[in-house]
Symmetry: C2
Subunit: 134 residues, 2 copies
């Protein structure tokens, strides 16, 4: 049921400093910064040929990634997002197999304007996985 | 200079248990397990349309991922590997911009039989990045 890897998200304490490092040290091509107030983040996209890595900086201490950065001061890999053809079917399969959705079981609108759920990291290799309606 | 995202690696304490979770909970299609004694890991590939996620289980306590699992008992995202066209040029650019290669600066042969370097996580958003000769 997994489609494409939509993105890999890296939380960073300072997005401009991170962008400079990625550009200077590995020659990354990076988008402009977008601010998504409803998601509590500034975001910029590192472009690869087959996908993208998102750099996320919290807007403030209420951001969903603020706590992650308290534990990982340098930043770090935060989640992987996969596209799925049918998010509701994917959610139901997850729950039927003993997996948990973070927060409400109802999909919410993610940072890309599409319905998403996040899977509890304890239920999938200690890794935060986002499923997004393709 | 970044080409494609070659793979995302997730370290897991028990690869068979992890495979079962990914198959049952998100419908992942996964390869057979391969054992790479010279890299200290058992590996299986979760197939996505545009790339792959590798599940890595340490062979023993000398495995390069054993310490990571001591700190992350459930498993977790370990590194991202990008293909690059010219690994030596990428390495030289990294070093010139103040980035550090883990271990020796000389590329070694990675798990896919191609030359690789790993970049110090402190030098790139707290994230372990592997660069692989395309």
């Amino acid at each position: 049921m997994i489609g494409s890897i939509n993105h890999i998200a890296i939380a960073v304490p300072d997005i401009r400093a991170a962008m400079a490092q990625w550009q200077e040290r590995v020659g990354a091509e990076i988008s402009e910064i977008q601010t998504l107030p409803e998601h509590g983040v500034h975001v910029a996209f590192i472009k690869a040929e087959n996908g993208k890595v998102e750099l996320l900086e919290p807007i403030d201490e209420n951001s969903p990634i603020a706590k992650f950065l308290e534990k990982n001061a340098d930043g770090g890999m935060h989640h992987i997002c996969f596209d799925v053809e049918d998010l509701i079917a994917s959610r139901d399969k997850l729950i039927a197999a003993g997996g948990r959705v973070l927060g409400s079981d109802e999909p919410r609108i993610g940072a890309h304007g599409k319905p998403v759920i996040f899977i509890h990291p304890k239920d999938l290799s200690g890794t935060l996985i986002e499923l997004q309606q393709a």
